[in-house]
């Protein structure tokens, strides 16, 4: 199975715990005409990590790097959910049943339904397992 096309490049940005950091990131991306499709902020005692799916990850990475941010690419996958009650359960059950461990996750609900973005340990293995259950994985081309 072709797993590569389901691997999506997320950008992760280290942020100090200080007001205005998100604004600085968002402003930089806006200037470069980069669209943010989904994002999340995780905070740990004293610092945070901003994670985002954008339409031009390379451009976003280079721009943020030039501004002095700590940026890294991370591989994530996106599972389509039904945008109605019980939608998350269907997907979560599949992940549980197939023994996929989630490192972190966030979701968005857009025009074409709801999407669950997942960071997992064994990405290729997870893709195979999810595909085998018949669930829909979104291809990278949907995002960038």
């Amino acid at each position: 199975m072709e797993t590569q096309k389901f691997i999506i490049r997320q950008i992760s940005i280290f942020s100090e715990k200080r007001p205005g950091r998100l604004a600085a990131i968002a402003h930089a991306l806006g200037e470069e005409n980069i669209n943010i499709l989904a994002f999340s902020i995780s905070e740990a005692n004293g610092f945070g990590v901003v994670r985002a799916l954008v339409d031009h990850p390379e451009k976003a990475h280079d721009k943020l790097l030039s501004l002095g941010f700590n940026v890294a690419f991370t591989e994530v996958i996106a599972v389509k959910m039904k945008d109605h009650p019980g939608g998350l359960y269907e997907v979560a059950k599949i992940l549980g049943d197939t023994g996929i461990n989630i490192e972190y996750s966030y979701a968005y609900s857009g025009r074409d339904g709801a999407v669950l973005i997942l960071r997992v340990d064994q990405v290729e293995d997870a893709i195979k397992k999810i595909k085998n259950t018949g669930a829909t994985l979104l291809e990278r081309s949907v995002f960038h």
Partner: protein, 393 residues
């Protein structure tokens, strides 16, 4: 109010200060004559016992630091010979080499008296069952508290630390009314009790906690008091001064420092001059009657303030406020470089912990590390500004 020794504890301030002056004067003469260590240091400082003409002259004397005890390991600066000692305690040395404290019989008695007054001021006495859950052994907490509790006629339950379930059973079966331990151990005990289906508040007679040997906050106090149904008192002391010696009274507004035992000063650690009354500074303690290991102007490193106003409990001895910080606390900002950044939060936290450990091991100070973005630390003229002192005294 019940006092252990009302004559001393309610003595007018002027009388107490006269007593302190006499004790200080005789201590200084004794050390100048009999202790090579103190003699040499006084000479170095160009101060002679004759120069101590009033209590405030204490500031002419040289300071002592923990390093003096470490350098004197094990007993080089003792002023009693081994056959005069009845006990040793040894500090654990978590922040450096261990230090040894020796005690004559009078030293043990003085320490015990100090605690007897303190425990009485916290409302304990005959009829109480005091569970001593500080460690017994080289650490001063267990044995010190044990002697103090026995002296006031309470019944001691010497459980030491550990075996928590058994401690809770004994607390119920023998009706402990008070516990002496670290605040974190009491919190742990409360959690274990709940797992056993025991509510310390409802199912035990516990009503007093004498808690110390580690820093804790008013927030923790409120939480423990509500949750466990006790009054939680802070206790202060360090092995170099003898061990735990002073507690809060039932007013819970600072530790009464018995003036006939200890002379306290609050100084500005930079200028080494006394701060204005009520201001925060570094606590400096002289034990006026110690025999085996006299401590003069000992700088423990704790930041606090002193309140000399009359206490509602009626005791005239000044109160040192709960310790709010250490002179050696540091906040270290470290730029996280690109190579070290991964998307994994646990990785970043591990980096921070590693830096904290390294700093602690090499500098012997507790340091809190804050990770910042690359390039965000101020740089002046191409050099980084290495230390920014933001301590508020």
């Amino acid at each position: 109010m019940v006092c252990w020794d009302p004559r001393i504890e309610e003595m007018p301030k002027e009388e107490l200060q006269r007593m302190q002056y006499k004790l200080l004067k005789s201590l200084v003469y004794r050390l100048y004559s009999f202790s090579p260590f103190h003699h040499d240091r006084m000479k170095e400082q160009k101060v002679h016992p004759d120069d101590i003409r009033e209590l405030a002259d204490v500031k002419k004397l040289p300071f002592m630091f923990k390093r003096d005890l470490r350098d004197g390991y094990p007993d080089k600066i003792f002023t009693a010979s081994q056959d005069e000692l009845v006990r040793y305690h040894v500090s654990s040395g978590t922040t450096g080499k261990p230090t040894v404290v020796g005690y004559t019989q009078n030293d043990i008695d003085l320490w015990t008296t100090s605690l007897a007054r303190a425990l009485t001021s916290a409302g304990l006495g005959r009829g109480d069952v005091i569970q001593v859950s500080y460690g017994y052994g080289l650490f001063t907490g267990g044995l010190g508290m044990h002697y103090g509790a026995e002296r006031i006629g309470a019944t001691v339950l010497p459980t030491s630390v550990g075996n928590t379930e058994r401690q809770i059973e004994l607390m119920q079966d023998l009706g402990s009314t008070a516990i002496a331990c670290t605040p974190s151990y009491l919190l742990h005990m409360g959690e274990v009790a709940e797992k056993m289906g025991v509510s310390i508040k409802k199912d035990t007679k516990l009503r007093t906690g004498i808690l110390g040997a580690e820093p804790w906050t008013e927030g923790m106090r409120n939480r423990m008091q509500d949750w466990l149904g006790i009054k939680a008192y802070d206790i202060f002391g360090t092995s170099e001064l003898s061990g735990p010696m002073f507690t809060e009274c039932t007013e819970q507004k600072g530790f009464h420092i018995w003036s006939d035992i200890a002379l306290t000063e609050i100084i500005d650690p930079r200028t080494e001059e006394p701060v204005a009354p009520g201001e925060k500074g570094e606590l400096t303690v002289t034990i006026l009657k110690k025999e085996a290991l006299p401590m003069i102007r000992y700088r423990i490193g704790d930041i606090t303030s002193m309140d000399d106003s009359p206490c509602a409990c009626g005791r005239t001895h000044p109160r040192v406020q709960r310790i709010t910080g250490r002179v050696d606390d540091m906040l270290v900002r470290v730029e996280l470089n690109r190579e070290s950044f991964s998307d994994k939060i646990t990785d970043i936290m591990a980096i921070r912990q590693k830096i904290e450990h390294r700093l602690r091991n090499s500098l012997n100070v507790m340091a809190e590390v804050e990770l910042v973005e690359p390039g965000s630390l101020p740089r002046f003229e191409g050099k980084s500004k290495k230390v920014i002192d933001k301590r508020s005294m």
